[in-house]
């Protein structure tokens, strides 16, 4: 079923179409929610809320953007609302591209012989410690493979800001990795 047919079926209130939609887009929503809230225990409820919102608001979808982008924007707004309500994190704006303070103790002790799997864990731990905007942009770009333009549509951040977050985010990861794994260079040469 393509997205146009799916949207039409959803507009008609078809719950089988809803099932199809959830199966198709649940990873996108799950990844966004997990990364943005950083809390697995809230993630399932929030994901459910996102899909219920999608179903209730499907009448507003005019097909001007991709369905995935539209669902992404609903997930983004739901996560921002959730984070604001829980007051666990202060949302910074685009101007706060200052240094990110992360103590070495924030990241779990690393193995001397770092392999690809440990590398993945390390990168994910560093991402978890980043401010929400960085985590969101990094996830949307690298994991979900959205373009700059699509990330702009989802988050409402200007394209330039998205690019800044991405490059700054990568810089933070690189910097933290070399700080935390001094012996990373020889290992990398062997890889």
């Amino acid at each position: 079923m393509d997205d146009v047919a799916l949207v039409n079926a959803l507009k008609a209130g078809n719950t089988n179409a809803f099932r199809f939609l959830v199966d198709k887009y649940r990873n996108l929503v799950w990844h966004m929610v997990l990364r943005m809230t950083n809390r697995q225990e809230d993630a399932e409820d929030l994901c459910q809320e996102v899909f219920i919102r999608v179903f209730n608001q499907i009448g507003k979808f005019r097909g001007e953007s991709k369905l995935s982008t539209w669902i992404g924007s609903i997930a983004y707004n739901a996560c921002v609302d959730h984070v604001r309500k829980s007051k666990r994190e202060v949302l910074s704006d685009a101007s706060s591209l200052g240094p990110v303070n992360m103590a070495a103790s924030d990241v779990s002790p690393l193995l001397n012989n770092i392999d690809r799997n440990s590398m993945k864990k390390l990168v994910h731990q560093i991402i978890e410690k980043m401010p929400m905007q960085y985590r969101t942009v990094v996830t949307l770009f690298h994991l979900e493979e959205f373009s700059y333009k699509e990330i702009e549509e989802i988050t409402g951040m200007p394209e330039g800001t998205v690019k800044s977050y991405l490059s700054r985010g990568r810089e933070i990861i690189r910097q933290k990795m070399t700080e935390l794994v001094p012996d990373i260079q020889p290992v990398l040469f062997e890889a």
């Binding site: 719950t15 649940r26 997990l34 690809r116 590398m119 690298h142 990398l188 890889a191």
Partner: protein
Amino acid sequence: MEMKECKEDIDSMIDDSLRQPPDFIIPASFTDKLVKKLEKQLAWKDLLSEFGIKTGLVVAALVVMLICLIFPAKNDPVPWLDWIARNRFIVTGLIGVLMFTILFDQILLKFMFRKTGKSY
């Protein structure tokens, strides 16, 4: 040259890691639970609107009936209207019980014993 290669290697490993999903995976029952939740919400909405329509019809019929009875009487007092005014608490209570019974019968019972798997 070595530094450049090292940086490229780190970048490639970072790219690989960034493309990997988080370790926590979505529960397998997620879709089923969510579809059930939506069906429940839709059923609730359906029953409520059905109740609203039925209540509206009854109220409209009562209003029409009252108008038909009061207007022909004009200035003559309507004895039963007087009686209603005097016993307004009993009347209100009876209407309340009646409405609750209809609500219980039309919505709560249907909702509690609703068969799952209905496709809208």
